[in-house]
């Protein structure tokens, strides 16, 4: 592990000691490491919906967020909609950027790298022939996703690149987007 000797301790606002401690404790408690994340989504009319996030399951019991969060999703006027929120695909892009940014902060903290600013720009290309059902050979989702990080930190270019690389390696959303997974949808 590379730890740089510095005048002031590195502080990216991430409690790496707590995370590393949890990793050690959970290593011998695989059941506590089983989490289930949840959201409820209610149709608000048109193509507008509101998701609510209250709690999740983890560490062997039900857990609650400190407060309840809501996320509105809608579509812009170009899709003949009322634009009450970001589109679901934009929320996915935001989730990817947020997940990678959290990883950048954590990995940098762990490696003793002080961050001054981190800005991610995310783009996803989509041929809407897919969702419109015009061409069966075109997929619904993104044909390409690009993330660019602009990072100001007390580290070399290669060290910053290594932090960004490691954050991808440990990112849940990066994995969710890059790898196939099974989704089961039921009706009650």
């Amino acid at each position: 592990m590379q730890m740089q000797q510095q005048q002031t301790p590195v502080d990216n606002g991430v409690n790496v000691d707590a995370l590393m401690g949890a990793r050690e404790v959970l290593r011998d408690a695989p059941a506590a490491a089983q989490f289930t994340w949840r959201a409820e989504c209610e149709w608000m009319g048109g193509v507008h919906s509101r998701s609510t996030v209250r709690g999740f399951y983890g560490l062997g019991e039900e857990q609650a967020h400190d407060k309840i969060f809501t996320v509105d999703a809608d579509h812009p006027p170009q899709f003949a909609a009322s634009d009450n929120g970001a589109t679901p695909v934009e929320i996915v892009l935001s989730a990817l950027a947020s997940c990678l940014s959290a990883g950048v902060a954590s990995v940098a903290q762990n490696r003793g790298i002080q961050l001054h600013s981190v800005k991610a720009t995310v783009e996803g290309d989509m041929d809407i022939y897919g969702i419109l059902g015009v061409d069966a050979d075109v997929r619904n989702g993104f044909s390409a996703v690009r993330v660019n990080f602009d990072i100001n930190a007390d580290a070399s270019q290669d060290e910053i690149a290594a932090v960004v690389s490691q954050s991808q390696k440990r990112s849940a959303v990066f994995d969710i987007i890059t790898n196939p997974g099974n989704v089961k949808v039921t009706v009650s």
Partner: protein
């Protein structure tokens, strides 16, 4: 029932090295071998394989390599004859065609059940190899039935494969080497690439493994490594004897590079979209090592004796790596699982495995009187090199002898 002080399992380079160390220490023992001496080297390696280590790293105990071709890389068949020569010279007590069926604790020793009868002993050394079984993902069963599946243990030569396209899974040394020779045989290869370690064969005029040795990186003891479990799981570097071999050299000869193979669904292989990061991570890690070498040369004041520092071209990743492959539509006929190996200790009836059934050990010491050899980073990085096995045998034999003495006193 037969009794002997120590049973060694496996008559490969590790087991024979241990036998010599025990003979020097007056420990009576037998080496049990399921087949013939150097069995897996003889029967489970492909024809063109040469060792990845230069010959000076391939010495068996007491036979350190000093031939004219000390910087060459010996073929596996040459290694097999060296191992035979060693066994003949030392008259190693090998009992061939003897398969171990079970090992159970018995008193303060062990009972070794074989298909040729049972043996009781004070100590056991498991030197049956890190590559006993191919580690094949469980979704391999989803492959269409007409696909010919091989592993580096069963593959011999490209012309044994059907004539159609081939998917090689895994980009460590075996995956890169097999992709290269299968592509060269006229079969179009797609290579699935996950986490991998990139190393140049040579850097600043010396073999890269020579550099690791010079910098002391081959012999950092296991108990001084941060997170030794992770180190032991790190894939082996993509190297081939003699030449430069990496994803770029494969791209140049027409091999198609894809992401990690994640699953097979509807007779279609699905690849990860993470290829670019896997390659970027491998490039960054390689460059860190090259920088360490550069720093050492500079700090020793040796700049004038070596060619200048250089950096290799970044791994070229296709603009849009493929995400799926339909075996039937694209006429793929074979899959080679170069996805790593697992040792086989199925017959060991002791609670010495972790929750993923991996053997737990401390530098080769598994339990009182029970030792293992030949696993990745057993005691140091070079534990997997032929000469490294000799050093491990030396250390573990000393421990084993000391343990016997203590028990006699007690």
């Amino acid at each position: 029932m037969k009794h002997i002080t120590t049973v060694i399992i496996g008559a490969g380079h590790s087991g024979l090295a241990m036998s010599r160390e025990l003979s020097l220490r007056g420990v009576d023992h037998v080496v049990l071998e399921r087949g013939q001496i150097a069995n897996s080297w003889k029967t489970q390696r492909w024809d063109s394989l040469h060792l990845l280590t230069p010959n000076w790293m391939n010495g068996l105990p007491g036979m350190s390599y000093c031939g004219a071709d000390k910087d060459a890389y010996m073929s596996v068949s040459r290694l097999v004859s060296e191992i035979h020569r060693f066994a003949d010279y030392h008259q190693t007590p090998v009992q061939t065609e003897t398969t171990v069926l079970a090992i159970d604790p018995l008193g303060d020793g062990y009972r070794v059940q074989t298909d040729q009868g049972a043996i009781t002993c004070q100590s056991v050394v498991m030197a049956n190899g890190a590559c006993a079984q191919p580690a094949i993902p469980s979704f391999a069963v989803e492959l269409p039935r007409y696909i010919r599946q091989l592993t580096p243990l069963s593959y011999k030569r490209p012309n044994d494969l059907p004539g159609g396209k081939a998917l090689v899974v895994g980009a460590s040394a075996s995956g890169l080497q097999l992709a290269q020779e299968i592509q060269a045989s006229g079969r179009q290869v797609t290579l699935a690439v996950g986490n991998h370690v990139r190393l140049p064969r040579r850097y600043r005029r010396a073999d890269i493994l020579h550099w690791l040795d010079t910098l002391g990186l081959s012999e950092i003891p296991f108990d001084q490594m941060d997170d030794i479990d992770r180190v032991r799981r790190t894939p082996s570097p993509g190297l081939v004897a003699e030449h430069q071999l990496d994803l770029n050299t494969l791209t140049e000869i027409g091999v198609e590079i894809a992401g990690r193979l994640e699953m097979i669904r509807d007779e279609t292989a699905l690849f990860s979209g993470s290829l670019e990061n896997k390659c970027a991570a491998a490039d960054l890690k390689m460059n860190r090592l090259l920088q360490t070498i550069d720093d050492w040369i500079a700090s020793e004041g040796f700049e004038e004796f070596f060619p200048p520092s250089q950096r290799f071209a970044a791994t070229r990743v296709p603009d849009r790596p493929r995400l799926q492959l339909n075996f039937a539509k694209e006429r793929f006929e074979s899959v080679i699982w170069a996805t790593g190996f697992r040792p086989d200790f199925n017959w060991l009836n002791l609670p010495v495995f972790d929750r993923k059934a991996r053997l737990q050990h401390h530098g080769g010491l598994v339990a009182q009187g029970l030792y293992v050899m030949g696993l990745p980073y057993l005691r140091q990085r070079k534990s997997t090199f032929i000469a490294g096995a000799s050093e491990d045998a030396h250390a573990l034999a000393a421990h084993l002898r000391c343990n016997l003495d203590q028990r006699l006193v007690a």
